[in-house]
Symmetry: C2
Subunit: 208 residues, 2 copies
DNA sequence: GATACTAACTAATAGCTATTAGCAATGCTA
DNA sequence: TAGCATTGCTAATAGCTATTAGTTAGTATC
């Protein structure tokens, strides 16, 4: 009795990607079993091979879907000349995206710790653009961390992502769920404040 | 031909702990196999059971050894009343310890992502003390992040540790090995500068 | 109405997992 | 010298892993 598409829900490949994304993000590539993915979708594991060539291809698809979702709004920002206000906008968008799709940060962290297939793609598409000087820049003044510039980029990035990846450990210690919507606002404010301190007393963050 | 203690090296249990610590830190609890641990020590995996009850006990021993190494120098600092200079000392010591023994940060990150046995011990012994008000405090002025205090503690911690756990991803992007000795100095300076900005223009970091 | 395609299934594989049982060699102690 | 605890080994277990082969039931097309 196959092909019982429930008609109510998403197509199977998408449901597989959803389940695999959550599991890869939680457990990493090696510790995720296709049986668990299949269980979550509600099918048997060999049926996964009707939609993805093998485990690595499934992982690659998960990574690709996440990367395109993240790089799209940032590519747009990269077109305009780089101003201090542009940096603030970029930061806020990044923070909010990581809160809405926390799985990329988790996947990245697993890849950094253990290595995974396609780690190059993650680095090249997400990180490398931040380290190359933009084509038309206004050379923002970086304040007291002048010669530490690349390290500051790494630091800000890590700060945003480690908030996501470490959140479960702090749930009891903060009075609040660190991944709830209130916390998102709080983290945006903290990051913006920090950035303002680091970049100098320049422009204040834009108010929505 | 057993009991061939090479006489040159450390006792076996310690060598097992060393190997297991590296592997657990790199791959996490679930993805680490006892066979790989044994290979690295140079024995067969059943021989591990002569020294540790099972995989979980081995992991517990790794965690415990790391925690005692880390909490010792910090407990000492916690005795004295809390001053701004004390916070700077605490920060610098923490950064340097994480550079010398990067495995605790990696283990913590795996535990936060996937959950592992004994995660409570990690949180209780390492994090919880930072969130409880010290017995005799001088109520340091936290500057522009006043009501964000617990979030700032979490942020500084994450900043220090994510530097370690994310380092491999940035190796190509920075011009330098992020875990080399020069980088340690650079990170200490960055963190101290940041802390100075956050805590207000208070005391400058002590020069050794 | 016959045919091809899709997407599910079961059965089976080779290899790895932690763990146990039993054996053998060594070194310490009486 | 006899005995014992330590610590290594091999062999064997039950269970999980990704992956393949072959089958079957629906769906769309001619």
């Amino acid at each position: 009795m196959p092909a019982a598409a429930p008609a109510t829900s998403k197509p199977t490949p998408e449901r597989i990607l959803d389940a695999a994304e959550d599991l890869f993000a939680e457990r990493g590539y090696a510790a995720t079993s296709l049986g668990d993915v299949a269980d979550r979708v509600g099918i048997r594991s060999p049926s996964l091979y009707n939609h993805f060539r093998n485990k690595e291809a499934l992982y690659a698809a998960v990574v690709d879907r996440l990367l395109t979702a993240f790089t799209a709004p940032l590519d747009e920002l990269r077109q305009a000349p780089l101003t201090a206000e542009g940096i603030y906008r970029w930061l806020e968008i990044t923070v909010r995206m990581h809160h809405q799709r926390p799985n990329l940060a988790r996947l990245l962290q697993h890849a950094a710790l253990s290595g995974s297939p396609h780690t190059d793609a993650l680095v090249d598409r997400l990180f490398r653009p931040m380290f190359e000087p933009p084509q038309n820049s206004v050379a923002p003044n970086l304040g007291p961390v002048a010669e530490l510039q690349p390290w500051a980029v790494m630091g800000l990035n890590n700060l945003v992502m480690s908030y996501i990846t470490m959140a479960p450990m702090y749930r009891d210690l903060l009075g609040e769920d660190p991944l709830g919507p209130d916390a998102e606002e709080k983290q945006v404010r903290l990051i913006m404040t920090l950035a303002q301190l680091v970049l100098g007393t320049g422009e204040p963050p834009a108010q929505d």
